[in-house]
Symmetry: C2
Subunit: 140 residues, 2 copies
């Protein structure tokens, strides 16, 4: 048969890799938020905000460090690297745009807020551009 590009497999592979990076994006976004609010991101705050136990947050931070997205010293707060900041910023923009789009479509605020979190990681640059164009069009 040879389904070519756009096959089942392609879509699933894309969705899988997005799921894999979704958590890292969430963490960088959150760390950026906490840093903006409190000057630093403490493990305990990360854990509470993510709704997980601190050892899980610690593991995640290890991974962030391993991937070059964050730095930290023992018993101190966590900070983003340049790469981490970039990822957080990209996630922030994406999140806001998805949220705006949902609201523009007529999704109730509460549902939009909840759903945007999951959706944002699966929106390609191309789709994001279309969202932006739609908002511009319908907004003004």
């Amino acid at each position: 048969m040879g389904e070519g590009p756009g096959s089942h497999a392609d879509r699933f592979l894309k969705a899988r890799s997005e799921r894999a990076s979704a958590l890292l994006e969430d963490y960088t976004e959150l760390i950026a938020d906490l840093t903006a609010e409190h000057g630093e991101a403490r493990l305990v705050d990360i854990a509470r905000a993510m709704g997980i136990a601190h050892p899980t947050a610690a593991k995640a931070v290890s991974r962030l460090k391993r991937e070059g997205l964050a730095t930290s010293r023992p018993y101190r707060g966590v900070f983003l690297t340049e790469a981490g900041e970039a990822m957080a910023e990209k996630a922030r923009i994406r999140h806001q745009l998805v949220l705006d789009l949902l609201l523009a479509i007529g999704v109730p605020a509460e549902a939009a807020d909840l759903d945007a979190e999951g959706i944002e990681h699966h929106v390609s640059d191309e789709t994001l551009a279309a969202f932006e164009a739609f908002l511009k069009r319908s907004g003004g």
Copy 2:
């Protein structure tokens, strides 16, 4: 502070649980497709369509069986139970609606096709209803 409902933690918990069920939904949807096309879903076809190795597909089928979503006998095809069919049907509708919405917004067909796969699992009933209303409104 006590952020109350709609906090970071709530959104992340929701996104996490959606990620967990996303794969099961993908499998039921795919098995339904294959069954419609070929009368049954063979492991090898499932694996190819998902872009994974067969042992991985076999494990997934075990899990589907354990969750009461599918049945199978050794060296034979996989079939959905009532519950599995229901999940597949719901996923199908959801997928189509998300795809239609993306197209209506102006997302190019190829991007819409790819992104819908990831997005569909994070769209709540409420948001889905809003999508439907928007399509009705803008469609005619």
